[in-house]
């Protein structure tokens, strides 16, 4: 078990392309950190630098107290699990799990202990004598995890390990990996482009874009206090709605105006503004679940009620998505409302924003203008 410290890490390829810029992060011992971002954002490159599979162009990488920039992968005391979980077809599950240890000349008794222990953790003891062709996708992925566990590494590195599995199995394995982390009490660094995976698994999440770290925080903080427009849009499904709105002070408070609509900004929010944005246009962010069409909510929120045209209604079973168009602007909004909603396509309806959960961003810098 060990901490991992990445200090001003850069990855610049021969052609001058910078894949990772100034990546700095302290990962505590036993933490489960998830790197997330769209394809090409540098998350896998960062993980491969930790693994030693990519050279670090600049910066320092420590595992525990040891500087490992120039340490070979096998000497870094890490174990990797990749998207591709190829197993040796001629070996049994036991031999596949034991193989890395055999290459390292680990004593037989020790190999046996570790393989059986890992098999027990993963609940695959009954599969040890089987060959890979007799295993399902999920079982094969478990064996791949087992191959990493038997090494008893200080740090587990996982690069999109679930992306080859079908949707149902992915959900199941997601929970398995979280449980595994709790059982092993080891540092995990996990890469995914799937924000649901990131939110459900990580104790901390690193959101990346174009090689830069955008925000490092707990899942809840990322959701509640996104530091910029990118993070706000990336985290959450359906994604946060953004509207260009002008802030105006009127007699009884501050209002955000857009099209023919206006929403009163709560005093608590105004006190958190980082600068003077009165009279200026900002990006107003509202999550789909913070838009309500229930009559009771609308009656209780007269200052944040707006008129919308319903473009489309999607029934999801447990909930309903309303695709809305605001009167007087081109802004399209998505609302996640109760499954019993009576709104129908073509209706002109009133909805109310939960004003306490509004977000505001600078229109130029795209950074949040709210202090926490």
């Amino acid at each position: 078990m060990a901490s991992v410290s990445l200090q001003h890490i850069y990855k610049v390829y021969a052609g001058g392309v910078t894949a990772v810029s100034d990546f700095t992060l302290e990962i505590e011992d036993k933490e489960f950190v998830v790197l997330v971002g769209p394809s090409g954002c540098g998350k896998s490159t960062t993980l491969r630098m930790v693994a030693g599979l990519e050279e670090i162009s600049d910066g320092q990488l420590y595992i525990g107290d040891k500087l490992v920039n120039d340490v070979a992968p096998k000497d870094r005391d890490i174990a990797m699990v990749f998207q591709n979980y190829a197993l040796y077809p001629h070996m049994t599950v036991y031999d596949n799990m034991a193989f890395g240890l055999k290459l390292r000349k680990t004593p037989k008794a020790e190999i046996d202990r570790r393989v059986k222990e890992a098999a027990k953790i993963l609940d695959i003891e009954h599969l040890l004598t089987r060959k890979p062709k007799a295993l399902s996708g999920g079982q094969r992925q478990r064996v791949a995890l087992g191959r990493a566990i038997v090494r008893e590494p200080k740090v587990f590195l996982m690069d999109e390990p679930l992306s080859n599995l079908d949707a149902k199995l992915r959900v199941q394995m997601r929970a398995e990996i979280t449980k595994l982390h709790q059982k092993l009490q080891t540092t995990f660094i996990y890469v995914t482009h799937d924000q649901t995976e990131a939110m459900t698994m990580g104790s901390r999440i690193v959101v990346m874009r174009d090689g830069f770290v955008q925000q490092v925080d707990t899942p809840q903080n990322l959701y509640d206090f996104p530091t910029n427009l990118f993070v706000a849009g990336f985290i959450g499904t359906p994604q946060m709605n953004f509207i260009d709105a002008t802030l105006e002070r009127r007699g009884d408070g501050v209002w955000a105006l857009f099209g023919e609509n206006q929403v009163k900004v709560p005093d608590g929010k105004i006190q958190k503004f980082k600068g003077d944005y009165m009279g200026k246009t900002v990006k107003l962010g509202v999550r789909p679940e913070d838009i309500h069409d229930e009559q009771l909510f609308i009656q209780n929120s007269p200052d944040s009620t707006v008129s919308m045209d319903v473009d489309l209604v999607e029934l999801m079973g447990s909930e309903t998505y309303l695709y809305l168009r605001t009167t007087g602007t081109d802004a399209m909004l998505t609302a996640r409302v109760d499954a019993r909603s009576v709104s129908r396509t073509g209706d002109k309806i009133k909805v109310a924003f939960d004003a306490n959960h509004l977000h505001f961003f600078d229109i130029d810098t795209e950074e949040t203008i709210l202090d926490r």
């Binding site: 971002g37 769209p38 394809s39 090409g40 030693g52 599979l53 070979a72 992968p73 096998k74 174990a79 990797m80 990749f82 591709n84 190829a86 197993l87 040796y88 077809p89 001629h90 070996m91 596949n96 193989f99 890395g100 055999k102 290459l103 390292r104 890979p132 062709k133 482009h193 849009g233 990336f234």
Partner: protein, 362 residues
Amino acid sequence: MRRGSFFAAAHFNGFGVRKMQNQAFNRFLSELEGTRLPFGVYALSGEALHQKDAEDLPPALRFDGEFARIKGNLYAKTGDGLILALPERVPIAEAMLRLALALAHSLLGAQSEHDGKEDLLRQLLTKGLNAAGLDLLAAETGIDPQAECCTVLFQVSGDADAVAQALRETLGGTGGGRATCLGPDLVALLHPMSGMRQAELLEFAEAFALTAQEEAGSSFWAGIGEPRQGLAQARLSFDEARSALELGRVFRPQQSVFCYRNLLIERFMGEIPAAVAKRYHELLFNRRNSRVLNEEMMKTITTFFDCHLNISESARQLYIHRNTLVYRLDKVQASTGLDLRTFDNAIIFKLLFMLGKREETM
């Protein structure tokens, strides 16, 4: 003189030379020196291995019969891939060169006979073996000469010897596969199929790639040839494995294991003459389209193709709005005339794009 660093002239079409210490070669050089004649010894690549007063090896030697004669020098080729040279001014130069050839045959040929089964395997794959050689190889390796065999060629960024050794340890139990080092970065595996499917060999290669990565931190690629009936045909399988490796690295840089069988379109691309490839590539990738087909747009298009022309999934992976993706595709259509949302146009774009990749790297 360059003793002890004999780069044997065994060339594998651009893959590099096999480095090996060779006592027999050093002895051969000693014997040549003993003659006090200005012999030159070269690898086929033109590298001078021993050059006393002889000149540099001319770039294009043409042998008419036994010898080549250029600029007052006499050249002859040994059976072991060496070129010997002697100035024509030396008395009885032809006879002396024939003596040197006989000496090379005697010393280096005898050495190669003793190189054992690894060398036989190497020879089988790179040059082919005669019937006697095949029998000897079969006897020494235990591979049935009539068995169906498949070749895998591994290329590693690290130490090939260590990888070959790891491969031998891994092979225990696969049914008699044999591995041999072919160069500083190349390892070949000859594997009898004996009921094994090629897909299993592919999985084996992928699993081994992971092992090599984990244990040695090596970047690792593998090409897999077609299974061929009988040891005598193994060379064909080796050529296919080599071709798969070369083509795969050019056309599928995101993968590490390539099966010759699965590279049909890439093989076709590889055989198109360079000038034709360039002409067709430039029909699309020209100055007029260069502003639209920039780095970001190419990433968008590649992701769109990877997602099997699925707009929603591509937009999700690129983290752009669906309408942004549609707008970008419209822009490509306006500039190139190709609507990438249709299969026919997408395939035209993909093929012309691939022709350029070939041009860049081959």
